[in-house]
Each structure stands twice: as structure tokens, then as C-alpha cells.
């Protein structure tokens, strides 16, 4: 992999260069404490030392609501007009986010390819940025604290510079377009990178043991922990909305006032909603909130492993950070493992 060094004093200028590769998006403030990925015009609007945004990057590719088709009574369903071929550069993407996208690539790919997702995926460049974990991050446990693919460029802070890994041909073009801003890697850069890597590794506070978790999940299928979490859970859907790997959606036809034309749309859904497993005729396969909570954990930590060989959790900590009821995945899993007495 090509690796170069970007001195921090050149970052602002480099960001200026990036704008010629597409509309620049980066983590920026919303409200007093929150952060979101949004369009930015220069470095001053970008929060470099952030931990997490409210929504993950999925919002760019798998939109909260999306038009799937136009329809009319005479012709049926037709593809909507394609979006303009606009390019985007998303700057400041953390490793767990990139892993989240790689998981969505698996889900939306395969035998049937979700054309909406991948059409947008091909228009977006990803510039990664490393981060310092806070007390909710457990991406080290999920093996998502580091990425070696899935980005065009990846910047790691090594003190007064960034060590920049070039992941794609497009990333290489970005570096070459601003060639004078970069320099070669020196011995002290390598040392600094390795030192920081150890420091970062040691700064994780939250941890879950995933290796044997599928087996524990099976064993604890009837655990009272699910009842307990079910009593707390508000079914508000926040954890699903903010999760980088929650991909459930539902589909509906929205009519115009003429009663004949309209659009088929899809909207983010959550397995915690009461109607999620409801079938026509009224039978609900998960009528109890506790069974829905269990299903969410089961799917992420057990089912996904069977399907794709890895859990679908990337350890970003959003589900805990934004849960109004304070449900903490690390605590739930510890309880299942009986590491916390309940």
C-alpha cells in the first residue's frame, strides 16, 4: 500500500483540493454537542477530534426514505429518474464506519443486488481518519478498530502530521493532484505511528467478548435478561436508526391525489417496532417487546455470524449513546455471560 505523509499545516489546503473531486462532506457540529456528516466548505467547519456522529454513513447510500419507483395505473411501476451523476467526498470517516459500510455491502450485494445502494456507493469517495475511543467505543472487541480496505485515503494522526494510506486509484489521484503538500515517510513517522497505535489500543475502556458469543446466545435464549431489557426498551427505534449496520426497511405505495399515480417508497424500519413481524391476518410472530429485543441482539451477534461469518456489530457505541432508556449493549452481553450478577 502506498503511504505518504501530510504535514498538518497542509491539511486545510489539501481539503481545498479534495473539493475538486466532489461535494465535500465531513463531521460538523449540530446543536451544542451533536455531530453530523454534512456538507462543509473548509477545514474550519470540520470537527477533526470527534467520536461519533448521530447517524452513520449509511444515510448517504441507504436513505431514510427513498423513492424506488414511480407508478401509474396504466403502466405499472417504472424506475424513477436517475439521480444526477454528482460525486461526493466524505472526509473524516472512522474505521468502524468503514466496516459498517463493508457489512452493508455484503447485505445489499449477493445474489440480488440493491441497485439504489450501489449506484450511490460508486459516487462517493471515502477519506478515513483515525480516532481516540471514548468510554462507549468497543470496536477493538468487534475487530473494527482498524481498516485496510474500504477507503480511498486513510489519515492517521502521528503528532504534527498525518500518515496517509492510499487505498484506491482515486485516492492516489487525490494525493497526486496535491503532490507538493505531501512528503515521503521517514523513520520517525513510522515510529510515531506505531507508538500511537499502542496508545490507542490501550485507551479502550469498554469491551465485549465476541468469540464464543453465538454459543452463549443459544444457551441463554430463555434468559430473563431479555425480559428485563424488554421492560426498559421504549421501542422508539433510535438504536436501529443510528446503527451503522441496521438495514431493515419497509415498502409502501404513496398515492397522489388523483388516486392513480404515485411513488413506491421505502423507509427505514426497526425490528423493535410492534408491527415488524406482523403478517396479514393479524398474527404477530414477535408480539412481545422482549422477543423483539432478543431478536435484535440475536441477529447482530448470532444470526449474522451464521450468515456472513462475522457479527454485524461494529462497536461504535451509538446504540448506548442515543438510547433514552440507557440500554447498554456491553452490559446486556455481560449479563448474558453472567459476568454481572442480576
Amino acid at each position: 500500500m502506498r503511504i505518504v505523509i501530510l504535514p498538518k499545516e497542509n491539511l486545510a489546503e489539501f481539503i481545498g483540493h479534495l473539493r475538486s473531486f466532489g461535494e465535500l462532506h465531513a463531521p460538523t457540529k449540530r446543536g451544542e454537542k451533536s455531530l453530523v456528516f454534512a456538507p462543509v466548505s473548509d477545514l474550519s467547519e470540520i470537527e477533526l477530534n470527534y467520536t461519533r456522529t448521530i447517524l452513520p454513513l449509511k444515510k448517504y447510500f441507504f436513505k431514510a426514505t427513498d423513492v424506488m419507483f414511480n407508478f401509474c395505473a396504466e403502466k405499472g411501476y417504472e424506475l424513477p429518474v436517475e439521480e444526477a451523476d454528482k460525486k461526493y467526498v466524505i472526509f473524516g470517516v472512522h474505521p468502524c464506519e468503514i466496516h459498517g459500510l463493508k457489512i452493508l455491502d455484503l447485505v445489499f450485494g449477493g445474489k440480488y443486488v440493491d441497485t439504489y445502494y450501489f449506484a450511490r456507493r460508486s459516487k462517493v469517495a471515502i477519506i478515513g481518519l483515525d480516532c481516540i475511543p471514548d468510554d462507549l467505543c468497543f470496536c477493538r472487541s468487534t475487530g473494527t478498530d482498524f481498516v485496510d480496505t474500504g477507503f480511498d485515503l486513510f489519515l492517521s494522526d502521528i503528532g504534527d502530521s498525518y500518515l496517509v494510506r492510499v487505498g484506491t486509484s482515486l485516492g492516489d489521484d487525490m494525493v497526486r493532484a496535491a503532490d507538493s503538500l505531501f512528503r515521503q515517510v521517514k523513520k520517525e513517522d513510522r515510529e510515531a505511528y506505531k507508538r500511537n497505535s499502542v496508545q490507542r489500543r490501550d485507551s479502550f475502556q469498554a469491551e465485549i467478548q465476541l468469540q464464543d458469543l453465538p454459543g452463549i446466545m443459544d444457551l441463554e435464549y430463555e434468559s430473563h435478561v431479555w425480559e428485563e431489557v424488554g421492560e426498559k426498551c421504549l421501542s422508539c427505534g433510535i438504536c436501529s436508526m443510528v446503527c451503522p449496520t441496521c438495514y431493515c426497511y419497509s415498502v409502501f405505495d404513496e398515492l397522489s391525489l388523483d388516486g392513480n399515480t404515485g411513488q413506491r417508497k421505502r423507509i427505514w424500519d426497526s425490528c423493535l417496532f410492534k408491527d415488524y413481524a406482523l403478517v396479514a391476518g393479524g398474527h404477530n410472530f414477535r408480539a412481545q417487546r422482549s422477543s423483539r429485543v432478543k431478536n435484535r441482539y440475536f441477529h447482530k451477534q448470532r444470526g449474522f455470524v451464521s450468515q456472513y461469518g462475522r457479527p454485524s456489530c461494529v462497536g461504535c457505541g451509538r446504540c448506548k449513546a442515543y438510547c433514552p432508556a440507557g440500554i447498554d449493549i456491553v452490559e446486556v452481553i455481560s449479563k448474558l455471560r453472567s459476568e454481572i450478577r442480576v
Binding site: 446543536g31 451544542e32 451533536s34 426498551c233 421504549l234 422508539c236 436508526m241 391525489l257 388516486g259 408491527d275
Partner: protein, 259 residues
């Protein structure tokens, strides 16, 4: 099928939901073209007050004996009765003090003037008649109303969101007022449809759309207590718009408060 025959009526209330229909300025001609509006006393005179109707939209709450009479008459006239607005769906603000005896309340609000009219304990329309569709909101959302009309024209009963305001709030990526600011926000237990309008202005959800199905009120009360809100504040907020809802029964609220 010809144009559906439609009536729009209001019981006791502010008529704000009927006003939403009139405020559909851009769509009003389309609506008027698609529906055969037989009667809409708030908007037009000379309506037909006796003909059978395909659809009747009713806002307001049963507060006076004549409301009940009118409602039952509308039910008999119409194939589909649609409750519009939180008053019609949940009782609304008229029902926020239902535990206080009626006479006492009347006296407190109107003094001696209250002697000239009769009131009953305000209840949602569904306590009196079968309601085919409930579109809540204070007032209702124009988009939901238009969607409902479009679906009805197509022959379907519209499907409304069955999840909470939080879901829409997060879809729009608004900062969480409960988690970040510790405000008394009812987003988790209030039914969506408003696209989290209040949180979009940094104001907490006050529950004006009424509770979402299976609202976990105990958990909401518990978390608000943990944030330091008083029992009285919580109770007042919860019972402002939908006090008659089962999930706001005293027993459930106390359970949450004591947990």
C-alpha cells in the same frame, strides 16, 4: 366509482383540524375535484345535512350532550367515519382533567356562567361509535390528511406510522433532547407523523399526537424521574393531550414513578 360523498364536521373543539383541510391551499382544488363535499359547515353554508355519506371527517371531542347526538347521527349517515385530530382520537385537552368532578370543574372555569350549559366527561369518539380511521395530531398533519384522502380515493384505508416520534427525529438527525439536554421529551411514547417538528426547533415533544401503540409509559416515567423531573411535572405533561388513553392510567403512571 363516482366521487365519494363527503362531510366534514366538528364537535366541541378549536376546529383546528378542519382548518388544516382549508389550509391545503395548493391542493384544495384537487380535493374539491376528487370529492363530492356534501357538507362542511365551517367552510360553506347550505350543505346537505341529511344525505348518506361515503366518508365523514370529524374533529373535536364529545364534551356536550349534543356532541354525542351529532356524532351518532354522523355515524349512521356515513360508511366511513374518520376521526381527525387528537381531540377526536384521544379526547385532547378537553379531557385532561377528567378525574375532577364535572360540576366542580365547570364552576372553576366558568363560574356562574357555567350553569347555562350541560357538559359530559370528554371522551374520544371511539368511546361512542366505531371509528374506521384515526388521524391524530394537534392539529393533524396536512401530508397525512392528503395521503389519507388519496388512499381512500383508491379504495384503501391509509396506513399511518405505528412508531414513535424518536424514529422520525433520528431519521432527520436532530440532537436527542432527552439524552443530550435532559429535557422532558415525550418522543419515545408519542406516535410519529409530524417528522419530529418540535425537536427540529430544539423543543421537546409534548405528546400532542397521542401515544404510540404499546407505548412503554413506565419506562418513560422512570427515565424522566432519573433525570430529576417531579412526579407532578411528568404527569401533567403525559396527560395533556391523551389522558383517556389506557396507557396513561394512574396505575401505570404510578408503577413507573415508583420503579
Amino acid at each position: 366509482m363516482g366521487k365519494p360523498k363527503v362531510g366534514v364536521y366538528g364537535l366541541t373543539g378549536c376546529a383546528g383540524d378542519q382548518l388544516v383541510i382549508l389550509n391545503c391551499e395548493e391542493e384544495l382544488l384537487d380535493i374539491a375535484g376528487a370529492l363530492d363535499i356534501k357538507s362542511f359547515p365551517m367552510a360553506m353554508s347550505g350543505g346537505d345535512e341529511n344525505c348518506p355519506l361515503d366518508i365523514v371527517f370529524v374533529d373535536g371531542t364529545v364534551v356536550q350532550p349534543k356532541d354525542e347526538e351529532m356524532l351518532k347521527n354522523l355515524r349512521e349517515r356515513a360508511k366511513l367515519l374518520i376521526a381527525i385530530g387528537t381531540c377526536a382520537v384521544w379526547g385532547g385537552v378537553a379531557a385532561m382533567s377528567n378525574e375532577t368532578p364535572r360540576e366542580e370543574l365547570k364552576n372553576k372555569v366558568y363560574g356562574p356562567a357555567g350553569q347555562v350549559f350541560d357538559t359530559v366527561v370528554p371522551q374520544p369518539l371511539s368511546s361512542f361509535v366505531k371509528v374506521d380511521l384515526a388521524i391524530s395530531g394537534c392539529p393533524i398533519e396536512k401530508e397525512q390528511l392528503l395521503q389519507a384522502v388519496a388512499s381512500l380515493l383508491h379504495g384503501d384505508l391509509p396506513r399511518l406510522p405505528n412508531y414513535s416520534v424518536c424514529t422520525e427525529c433520528k431519521m432527520s438527525e436532530y440532537p436527542c433532547l432527552l439524552v443530550e439536554k435532559g429535557q422532558l421529551c415525550l418522543g419515545p411514547i408519542t406516535v410519529a407523523g409530524c417528522k419530529a417538528r418540535c425537536p427540529s426547533y430544539g423543543r421537546p415533544c409534548i405528546g400532542c399526537r397521542g401515544p404510540v401503540e404499546e407505548a412503554n409509559v413506565s419506562s418513560e416515567v422512570r427515565l424522566l424521574r432519573e433525570k430529576g423531573f417531579t412526579w407532578v411535572d411528568i404527569q401533567n405533561r403525559l396527560r395533556t393531550f391523551a389522558a383517556p388513553a389506557d396507557c396513561f392510567e394512574d396505575k401505570i403512571l404510578k408503577e413507573g414513578a415508583n420503579a
